[in-house]
Symmetry: C2
């Protein structure tokens, strides 16, 4: 797939160098807009507008939508007003909004000036909705039908107005702008009698979202119901737009990426890794690193506090990293399982009790298995094989008893904190590995020294 | 949304208790199959078949597909052969395959016996493809057209045969079973002349996948091209099926969940967290915990080896957790960024050099910022505020120089290992936080003691 693309790309670049614009245009015209966008991104500032102008108008607009915002800006700055207007006229409103959101103010001004009044109004409307809300990702171009139309009239209406709609396959039946039903083109085409009124074949139980619903919720509904499009209504129940499956897919991918980034202690970003500069990456990574480094002061203080105990039984120091590591891993397993379940809408705040109870049982089982294995390993490897007489049965017992409690604490905390975060309005993904690890590290040490003090003459 | 569902659910349960089956049936008939499945999952073994039998046939099959495999099995075991046949007849082939894959052998045998011969053949065909391949997630029910048909004939064909197809909106043009073009229902409906031959309006540059392509690649194509459906061809280029956007969305979600689970040191699973038993969770979590715990033996050995050095300068011990933690976090930031880019198809093996170069620059910047902050913190907080005379300027320097090297090593290793894993055919997600942390832990200690030995009189 990718190799084939590289081949096409090189052929096109050769044609460009040889100024064979006619052949270039003919090949480009058969290509998919996404592939053209991919190709355009490889071009320099000088050749980009040249190739772009070779594209047929509709394809040009489609490829434009798929491009990077940096390159879009470059092109817009080079466009004449007429060219900009032509591209905008071919665009769907939601794509125009996506572009406007990424552009600096002076470019936005030019775009709004060139968009036709109706589109300008719709762009401004969508821009008013909060970021990451259903309203901000919807499009206002959908097919609406009246309940008293016949199937034949509906098909005619679609054939007449469908070209400007983002999808024609799901049509919405409205009365006084209120959503009262929906009907698919499949239903219309498969209906044997063209005179049947829409009212009779429409699905009345329409599932919709509200403009202010979170986009994550919209995605959950797509994956639950397998819809092609989901209608969006305002606070008064009037239909204002639709979210289509392709936008939902993009959101799904972005939300998963964002969760992973937050879980790995990074501030999330919209840009792909390859496009991000070194300084941008540092800016996204340093805050949490700094925060977590400074909060490790506590573990340092705990160790300093128990310095004398460690001096008496130096063998204990060697097991600190293992205990912390196992605690961190146990905790992050639980937290990631819960964070993902929250993201997928499978788990809510009210589920906290059974989750904690489940994790306690898992933790006891895991803890005991780990402790037994570790006990055997310490006596066989550390004591016998490595010939270290400091590793007594009591020291091994101290480490293994600590292990059980550390795993128990880690899993309970790891599973609870994401739910607590959700409840108080924080992103649950923050409560993943790095954050949990820092808490569990300190806790592991406290448990370790408490158990050691009780069992050893320190 | 969820609260509304709970309300509906309680109403329905009340009707069930009062044996008002007629009203129950009327309400169920208006509901979405996914919501019905959700409701059925709440019912016990006795009431489940009762309510299921109230559903109209088509809706029953649709709800059945959305249910848990445990409940599907329960229902199938209760079905008469005729009932089973009725449900199967309403089902799409790919859904039937999904069910067959989850059932024990004797249930599979019954299903195949009741499926009509054509469906049985198709199920067996799809089952032959490797797990997680395009072939295994496709359906064989699509609309195919001939190039010499007219638009009018095509619409007629869709109206006649469309009811059994998973999607009618993208139709595929084939000649001798080879895929030569595609045309959307939108193109057909918006075409002004019904006598136009399909050949003239079809898109000839059709993007397809091969039966053995990985499902992750299929998902990447969906998110790149925004397709409703993607055609699947066999090794000879013959069209054998399609993957629809809703299945791609499910795969997208599953793959993201799997990546997160693997990144958090768990063996992945298909089951949602809420449905998994304690033993299943332990089985998925203990292998990596055990492996990582035992590999922490190395960190223990390193500390034991430098026991005397630590005894001379006890202050050093207190900073071990901070160095390990910062190293682990730095490494996991880099590894997760790269793992996600690989999953999204943005990064490949050949990108290793620039990725390492980028991470080196990010690491130096992050390392220096962290070192400076830590230096100030150690002298102000640990030395002055905590009044700890052991924290000399030299000790602070040792810790901070170590920090720079640890971050550098962690980011380089974190970014490289996922790519190396991909290259040798392992899951890149394995190379996330827990695995990286274990390596970085040992490395941090070695760097720490090397720097300390060079700068302090140990």
């Amino acid at each position: 797939m990718l190799d084939q693309n590289t081949f096409v790309e090189q052929t096109l670049l050769r044609l460009l160098d040889q100024k064979k614009y006619h052949s270039l245009r003919d090949i480009l015209a058969t290509m998919n807009p996404s592939d053209i966008a991919y190709l355009l991104e490889e071009l320099d500032e000088r050749r980009l507008p040249l190739v772009f102008r070779l594209l047929p108008k509709e394809l040009a607009a489609e490829a434009f939508v798929e491009m990077d915002s940096d390159q879009q800006e470059l092109l817009i700055r080079g466009f004449s007003d007429t060219e900009l207007k032509e591209v905008l006229d071919e665009m769907f409103v939601d794509d125009a909004v996506d572009i406007v959101e990424e552009m600096p103010a002076n470019v936005v001004k030019r775009i709004l000036a060139q968009a036709d009044p109706d589109m300008r109004k719709q762009i401004n409307e969508i821009l008013r909705y909060p970021e990451d809300s259903a309203g901000s990702i919807m499009t206002t171009e959908y097919v609406s039908l009246r309940p008293d139309m016949t199937v034949g009239e509906a098909i005619l209406r679609i054939r007449r107005t469908g070209v400007d709609k983002e999808t024609i396959y799901t049509c919405y039946v409205t009365q006084d702008r209120h959503l009262i039903g929906m009907v698919s083109v499949k239903d219309l085409l498969l209906c044997s009698n063209d005179d049947t009124p829409i009212r009779e074949i429409m699905e009345e139980n329409v599932i919709s979202v509200s403009t202010h619903d979170d986009q994550e919720q919209v995605v959950q509904m797509f994956s639950k119901y397998n819809f092609l499009a989901l209608p969006v209504t305002d606070a008064e129940g009037r239909m204002v737009g639709i979210v289509t499956f392709d936008d939902a897919m993009d959101v799904m991918e972005d939300e998963a990426t964002e969760d992973m980034e937050v879980m790995a202690a990074m501030l999330p970003s919209d840009k792909p890794y390859a496009k991000e500069g070194v300084f941008e990456l540092v800016k996204r990574r340093i805050p949490w690193l700094l925060m977590l480094m400074l909060s490790a002061t506590f573990t340092g203080l705990i160790i300093t506090h128990f310095e004398n105990a460690l001096a008496v039984c130096t063998a204990l120091t060697a097991f600190i990293p293992m205990l912390m590591g196992t605690g961190g891993n146990s905790g992050s397993q639980a937290s990631v399982a819960v964070i993902r379940s929250i993201s997928l809408g499978e788990v809510e705040s009210k589920d906290l009790p059974w989750i904690v109870w489940k994790e306690i049982r898992v933790a006891v089982l895991c803890g005991v298995i780990l402790a037994v294995c570790n006990f055997v390993k310490m006596l066989l490897v550390d004591r016998l094989l490595m010939n270290n007489p400091d590793i007594t049965v009591t020291v091994a017992l101290v480490v293994c008893v600590t292990l059980v409690f550390v795993v128990l604490a880690a899993k309970t905390i790891g599973a609870s904190l994401p739910i607590v975060a959700k409840k108080i309005g924080l992103d649950p993904a923050v409560m993943a590995s790095p954050f949990i690890t820092t808490i569990v590290d300190a806790l592991s040490l406290l448990i370790y020294f408490a158990v050691a003090s009780a069992m050893l003459p320190l």
